[in-house]
Amino acid sequence: MVVRVKVNGEWREAEVWAGTSLLSLLRDALNLYGSKNACEQGECGSCSVWLDGALVCSCLVLAAQAHERDVRTVEGLRDDGRLHPVQEAFVEAGAVQCGFCTPGFVVAVADLLQRDPDPSPATVREALSGNLCRCTGYQKILDAVSLAAARLRTQA
């Protein structure tokens, strides 16, 4: 079937098998490799994207469910060639080791900070409970969230 999705502000179309997930549509048909394919069961958060503004696991969305709807991926965070403040904070805080989980975390953190610019530590942990990292031990990621939050607040 033909699926038409607005991805990062641009309408894209692809012919896919009816059972294809949104994640597979993004990666295999639209060559957007930022969203990572890991658990395929909604456990790890590596494939996190926004669907009509809501943070979702793209592996659990059927591509057809995103037909004629708005999707924003980690690639859409870049602004005019510049990294998003959350991405900058991840680099500076050393919140990246192997990097596989990073796009999912970046999207989840950006989602949190646009709703809550000054989240409590407990709020951050709850907001990131659906994203798994097997390298960093999470502390550097939490540091990156504080750094990004502080910067975004001064920008605002």
């Binding site: 009816a18 059972g19 395929e40 958060g45 696991c57 037909h67 989602d111």
Partner: protein
């Protein structure tokens, strides 16, 4: 495989009548996992995630109606008056999962580990089904949930919602798992106190083939509260012995199995712990009623 994309509930019911083998897909947190792992290849999928008719929740004269397409995130945001339901919803998966998962999905999947199900059981909820040919019908939750992953839905029907009478009184949902997030419950318990009928209701999840109401425990603790004069005066203490007996009877009502997530013995013990906590919370809340 075909994907059907109805634009309205009427259209969805027409499609379901024509293609009764079509599997309804809402948040995808169950169906898509099976699809991704190749365990499920239905001849057709019907996308119910964009049917606006399923996403409302209303209260009319003490009767609550919750559309099957309402997500757990929406419940947490908008239904604060229903504390046990909010607690159960907040314990589902992660933010990503709660943004997609729906109560209708818990009902349709009919896993005894569905977190919303013990709450609906404790509320004595009905499941509202609709077909094009026969219109709407409501089934009590225990009639609808027939067994593990087995429901009384007809092939041409869709789950459109669930409804219950508002219960005046404290209540809670709690569950046991290895983390505070992304956990399929090893045991789950919902307790609600119905102040008007002077009755405590307790439902258990993940500790049997279906959701279980601990009827004997309900009976005993409700009359223990009466004997102690607690219904009329919540400040009156209830005997420790009555709380012990309640916890034991709740645990005895469980019908747990050993599986990868826990042993039957651990689950039964968990029920006892959850029951004791839930009744203690409820009694202290009755003394300082935040539910008024």
């Amino acid at each position: 495989m075909d994907v059907l994309l109805p634009g309205s509930l009427d259209e969805a019911l027409t499609m379901k009548a024509e293609r009764p083998e079509a599997i309804p897909l809402a948040g995808g947190t169950d169906v898509m996992v099976d699809m991704n792992f190749g365990r499920l290849r239905p001849p057709a999928i019907i996308d119910v995630s964009r049917l606006g008719e399923l996403t409302s929740h209303t209260e009319d004269n003490g009767k609550i109606y919750l559309g099957s397409g309402v997500t757990y995130a929406t419940i947490v945001r908008e239904m604060a008056a229903f504390k046990p339901l909010v607690q159960a919803s907040r314990s589902v998966g992660s933010p990503q999962i709660r943004n997609r998962g729906t109560v209708g999905g818990n009902l349709g999947t009919a896993s005894p580990a569905g977190d919303a199900l013990p709450v609906l059981a404790a509320y004595d909820a009905e499941v509202v089904l609709r077909s094009q040919a026969r219109g709407e019908r409501s089934l009590p939750w225990q009639t609808f949930l027939m067994g593990p992953k087995k429901t009384a839905i007809a092939p041409d029907e869709l789950i459109v919602g669930t409804s219950w009478r508002r219960v005046r009184g404290p209540g809670s949902f709690s569950k046991i798992g290895t983390r505070n997030a992304m956990v399929i419950a090893v045991a789950g318990l919902c307790l609600v106190v119905d102040e008007e009928r002077r009755r405590v209701r307790v439902a258990l999840g993940s500790v049997g083939p279906v959701i279980i109401r601990a009827s004997e425990a309900e009976e005993k603790v409700s009359s223990a509260l009466a004997t102690a004069g607690c219904w009329d005066d919540p400040t009156k203490p209830m005997a420790d012995q009555s709380i012990d007996e309640f916890a034991e009877l709740v645990a005895a009502a469980a019908r747990p199995l050993d599986d990868v997530r826990g042993t039957a013995a651990y689950r039964r013990h968990g029920c006892k712990v959850l029951a004791r906590r839930a009744i203690t919370w409820a009694l202290s809340e009755r003394r300082m009623p935040s539910w008024l």
